[in-house]
Symmetry: D2
Subunit: 386 residues, 4 copies
């Protein structure tokens, strides 16, 4: 019966891969180049296809407008995946030095809005429902920006973008407390994101990036509130110690990810509904081999999600409503302590998947092929701090 719950959970669980997770990325101090890293959109889709082929839970790929297009659905299909969320890029062009939708220059604001509108059109062509918006807008020094004016510009811009959505499309609006703006970020926390999303229109939701929080902030509480407010749109999953470190999901604090999944599962149990949340990975694979780290990520997500599925909600609700603290807590701890790996291997077998995705991928020879084909091209992607 426990394995029934696990199988059901795994059947229901999918997590989207980011195209940029397969390309060479780094820190401001430089990039350590991987010879097998993807250098074209097609290679990114091919790599993502590998992750899905071996894990069975990553059917879609998030695409970055600036880096990944032109592209088409057929290319993705060729590699066994589909185009997922569309991610506009409003932080890299030189015009965005002082912001995009909140730039004091009206022409830049117009250009940013146009890019968003173009992105809606791309999403339409790709059959993508979700547009994931992350804004780097902010300021580095007290006094240099009018925070209230910029908020107004954001409201206007997002509303104008929302007007262009198809009825089934959504805006997912991300927040982040710092970086690359260091004094203030225009959309700094979930509260700002929620207020702007509501101002934008009924198809806008909040996107929670697990790395975008103040230290010690209780992320699962934010998730619970967003569920209650019907404003939770999706996640960018990763892990961190200090800042937005973009490390592998669950590599630093797996119990926290489990608790996030638990809040969602418990909400579903209580309301008898199935929530519609976009689970997405957003990591920066600076050191580990990229495809392998992604397989590790997907596997870890499955483990933590199925552990959350094992919580005995009825018992938990009883203990919570009677303030029986230790027994309520043990409902979570018991689920988390359960070793779900054997059942997950069984599920994989039942789906015709390799029992051990990482080992199977390594045995496939794909990485060696990719290294041979891409090493030369990757040689030129070196960056420098100063």
């Amino acid at each position: 019966m426990e394995s029934d719950v696990i199988f059901k959970a795994l059947d229901d669980f999918a997590i989207e891969l980011p195209s940029w997770g397969f390309a060479n990325t780094g820190t401001r101090f430089g990039k350590f180049i991987q010879e097998a890293a993807a250098t074209t959109t097609e290679e990114k889709l091919a790599d993502a296809g590998q992750v899905h082929a071996f894990t069975g839970c990553c059917p879609t790929v998030a695409m970055h407008v600036k880096w990944d297009f032109p592209c088409d659905k057929a290319t993705a299909a060729k590699y066994g995946v589909a185009i997922g969320s569309i991610n506009p890029n409003l932080f890299e062009d030189q015009i965005y030095k002082h912001g995009s939708l909140a730039n004091p220059d009206a022409e830049v604001r117009a250009a940013a809005l146009q890019h968003l509108i173009d992105s809606v059109e791309i999403a339409r062509r790709m059959g993508s429902r979700d547009l994931s918006l992350w804004f780097a807008d902010g300021s580095n020094f007290p006094g240099t920006a009018n925070i209230r004016q910029r908020r107004t510009w954001f409201k206007e811009g997002l509303k104008a973008m929302h007007a262009r959505l198809d009825p089934d499309q959504r805006i997912l609006l991300e927040y982040k407390p710092f970086e690359p703006a260091f004094y203030h970020t225009d959309i700094a926390d979930w509260g700002m994101s929620l207020l702007l999303a509501r101002a934008a229109g009924p198809q806008a939701r909040v996107l929670v990036d697990t790395g975008h929080h103040y230290q010690a902030q209780n992320i699962e509480q934010i998730v619970a509130w967003l569920l209650s407010e019907n404003m939770l749109g999706g996640f960018h999953f990763n892990d961190r110690r200090y800042a937005d470190d973009d490390l592998t999901l669950g590599s630093i604090d797996p119990y926290q990810v489990f608790r996030i999944f638990h809040e969602i599962r418990h909400f579903e149990w209580e309301t008898g509904t199935r929530v519609d949340i976009a689970y997405m990975v957003d990591q920066s694979h600076n050191l580990k081999p990229k495809i392998e780290e992604m397989i590790q990520t997907a596997t870890m997500a499955q483990e933590l999600f199925t552990k959350a599925a094992l919580v005995d909600h009825g018992k938990l609700a009883h203990y919570q409503s009677h303030a029986v603290l230790i027994d309520a807590e043990e409902c979570l701890k018991n689920a988390f302590a359960t070793d779900v790996r054997p059942a997950i291997r069984e599920w994989r077998k039942s789906k015709g998947l390799a029992e051990a995705p990482l080992e199977a991928f390594r045995a496939s020879g794909y990485l060696e092929r990719a290294t041979r084909e891409r090493a030369e091209r990757n040689r030129f992607s070196v960056s420098s701090y100063a």
Copy 2:
């Protein structure tokens, strides 16, 4: 002309004192007893009256329902002050172990609501406009509380309380990320406070305690957003290094307080309005002499408020709208670097106040008298950790 601005700012500035700032308080490890600390409500009002007499900017006193009543307006008037905001107490009674308005036990929730309703009645009798609500509700361990259910109970309770308000009364709703609940606090940040205040009714606003934030959180940005949303009700001022340390205003980071005042002044300048914000002190005077620390606090508040009044808003707006970063920033830095103390001394003279409030208070003999009269009673207020 600079001094005109300063005089005008000082004429407009008042900050409310907390009655509990004059009594012996401490940390969980115990209290260091001050012999001159106030031991009755009347003594608290008398002490507050001293602060107002010497600074001229503290005409009202915030009162704690559990600790300060019965009391009447005449007693306050006798000491030259008025009763200010009313602070219910929903954290000290044993029934509140698992929360007040969000307690899983319906009887406790009802008792908590009754206390809030009684507090509204007290406020009515005292002629107080504002009810300052701080809730210690939360949980210490994952899984022990239903966060969403507790949010609903808060919405219901606050709405029921709001229904009892007179048309000119207000609820000021505080938030706090941790302590005394350590895993989750039901009203953890400004976003939760704003959503609950809106749900309560049109006379509810957010109360910003400067010590109730995550480390590195940009408080002045929150202030700017609350101003824009017309949801800023007031402040509990104090300073801190790590947690909710309740130290003297401006003792750790004076530039931050200046920036908070600046956001308010700049909003007023832009909108041509005068905002109606309750400035209040909320500090825990564990080590410094209480009346002296309060005089130091009021004086510091005046200095930082007048510095903020010196910002050249026209120039600042120009530089902000053209992204001239250094010059915009210098508008703030120049105002902050100005030594406003001579002008403040002039203002005091013009009001018939002592030029140096702290020295004047010390020369008055009040502290010695209070020590003689109260020492005996304070001897018994010792506390113990375990």
Copy 3:
């Protein structure tokens, strides 16, 4: 074979209980009284004896000089436990308002030193090896204390205390970044603690309280350094989200505790030695039933310690030395993912212990008896913030 490793680990593992964990404690806002809480030293030892009786891994009890003496070894033995580390109290008396060993008043410094010397004598009489020193010394405001002078006073005081130690006694010196001093704590981090311990003499070591760190600080790295420097004396275990919350071990971040144990086990494996570290609990059981929370703590400690014992050190060393990141990391993750609870139950059976300590304790009727006997006395332990 896995169960051999687990049995061996459990045989070797013991963790000391704090006497103060059985008495009513709270936050600065007050205490929620438990009727069954211990009200005398003997009751504390009796309660600790229960925890040891049901878990088999808590043979000793840390004692607080101010709260627990006079006492004798026989009383402890009567309840199946022994007196463990001795904890002087240099924070509660009124004379310590401005510090103890670092107080600017020479008489207070002398009194503090005398208390430490008395504590050494108590430890001698009790047969205790370790004296655990936590100092609340510090200041609340910039400029109010001479940090360097206070450091010198600490060096002198600790040296003088060290001179009184028996050859087999040790000083364990704790550090803490804040609370109850809010601007500066004289022994703020492990570096200060290490330098002072070295200055004190060869029998002084550092005591790591897991709750006494900056947010995001890597505690296991500190542990690794202290091991390398031969300066790790022991632990005060607890968990936390924001500050020194003193929550149940492993309740917030179990993977972190696992990593701490892992650093120790890996050191032992590499050096072929067995380290001599005092594992101790230091928690504040404000909400959960005290004995139950202690049983839960001991059980969790056993689980995390045995998981750490399962790490394949040979493989790990190989992967680390070849920078094979994912495989190295998986050595830890696999051990952590293993469900050790069945093997622990087997071990308990083999020792004649109850398989489920919490359930067995609850069935014993002890709590009901304690409630009947102590409820009346606990009625008077109420505290008040102001």
Copy 4:
């Protein structure tokens, strides 16, 4: 007399500029290109010369081995400055992916050591006393690195480097808690830095970068300890809100910088000595014009240093030793509140410098010339995240 103190302080104060502060830098998300940014070592020296010409307090320039050499003293002299500290680069080359001195690969460790030895030789040729060492070494995931082994490698490497120093040369060893390594940094805090510096040899000291601390950490206390331990070598000054944001000195928390200077001045006053500390700027001028930000930085440093010089040390020592908290604190607050700008202008006049350095620089036409000459070359320095 106050102005005497200020003049004396300004005469004694110098702060070193970083060559890399004049080149285009950015965040991991990209660089916003400034057309006038320096593109060669000579241009960097020329720009630094401008800052010194207008402020009179920046006579030396820190040089980065990888980016700035070959170079010679004459080129610096041509622009009115001298070569200052030498900064090896052990983070940018691809071989350093898993560390430099602590890389598990012995060949990489040898290459890193060779680079350090080469840097000593460069320093010798340039007549530079100080070698500033910042190591990016660390790991991103638990288990992937042997922290203790890496510590040993650091000890060995630094000792070997120290053996190559001339008697008057120094190693300044930096610490940093995170970035670009996110799980553990090998030299994470001042304690690790101090222990490694002591192990290296008598000419090694600790370098304090103000941005390299945990949130809420008391930096001035670390400074006080390092002074007491005779281990303070120098500073990398900058400001920050959340992480290592590398913002303008004093732009976020000017009172903190003042307190750091105060600890140094107070130490000098007490000991009657003059400490030998290398004050250096280390900022990343991503948005503000680079030369202008550097002038603003130097000016701010002068202001905060002179404010610190105004503290009445005799009075302060008296109040500290009698625990008169408010009066002790007011010694600092009064000095900080003093407007030192008029006296600094007087000092500038007395030195033949422009009274308003920023305005004078702007009027000089230098920036326009630099823009004309360098714009074309800067066009190609664009970077990309992925």
